[in-house]
Symmetry: C2
DNA sequence: TAAACTTGTAATAATATTTGTTACAGGTGT
DNA sequence: ACACCTGTAACAAATATTATTACAAGTTTA
């Protein structure tokens, strides 16, 4: 199992809107860069919009950033596109046997430990902004 | 998406082998506590065995611990049951457009950031032993 | 106003993944 | 010989992910 690529696509979209800021970033344009279907892009953009990260309007071509990229962390994107539910990165087997000391306690014991690990992951994502991503792309472009 | 419950089942199995150390932990017994099919347990035990965490032999009933529980961290179990491939917790969309500056750099830019986050998660799992889990279960049992 | 374009969204399909089930070969001990 | 176990493969069922198609409704331009 792995975390949905909606997350990496979301980052891609935000970075490309920025780099294409003098142009119009339609779902078709973005889809051409991500290499997927425009409807997929529109769905993800809808999620980014719901989180207040981009501005889009029905009928009006193009998505714009709604915040400074330096204020958008990877964690914000991760939450926006909803790839992992809160406290549910790890799934725990259901209905262990209540007649067994391990069965009746395992969930309560394990879930907080999993939460700590999930938070460590999310904190790490919070340390990087999409601006950092854009800067890295620009740097890579200039070198090569 | 979420990480396979093989992980939580693996922890459950190890904890129960310990708590049942005076008895015989057959796959059927363990399956009864986890509440799943014995074949599922045997498969997971096979993985734990492959990682050197338990001892089992064909034909001989029962699994035994192969290491001190205090030396087995949740990270060891996590690796053993193979729920997440190395560096692949996050999936990244394939074949972005090489004719776009974002498309041709996004993977190289993002993958290392995802790795850092994954390592933060794994480090957190490494801070807890299965013995800690067992002790917590015992504590909960004594209180109630 | 009509035509050409867009976004938003739903329905559907294709694919992959996870979990459970069944079956049985082969080992062990009585 | 019998009863029991583990190891494993084949299969089925349930779920999740991604892509595709279609179209209503908004906007712009001519």
């Amino acid at each position: 199992m792995s975390i949905s690529s909606r997350f990496s696509v979301g980052i891609h979209i935000l970075a490309l809107i920025e780099i294409n800021k003098n142009g119009i970033s339609t779902s078709e344009f973005l889809a051409g860069s991500v290499n997927t279907n425009p409807a997929v892009i529109r769905k993800i953009i809808g999620m980014l919009k719901g989180a207040g990260l981009v501005k889009v309007q029905p009928g009006i071509a193009g998505a714009k950033l709604a915040m400074k990229l330096s204020d958008i962390t990877l964690f914000d994107v991760y939450k926006a596109v909803n790839v992992v539910q809160e406290k549910e990165l790890f799934s725990v087997h259901e209905n262990p046997n209540p007649d067994c000391p391990v069965g009746r306690n395992i969930q309560e014991t394990i879930v907080p430990l999993f939460e700590v690990a999930q938070i460590a992951l999310e904190k790490s994502l919070g340390n990087v902004s999409v601006e950092d991503v854009v800067n890295d792309i620009i740097k890579k472009e200039n070198i090569s």
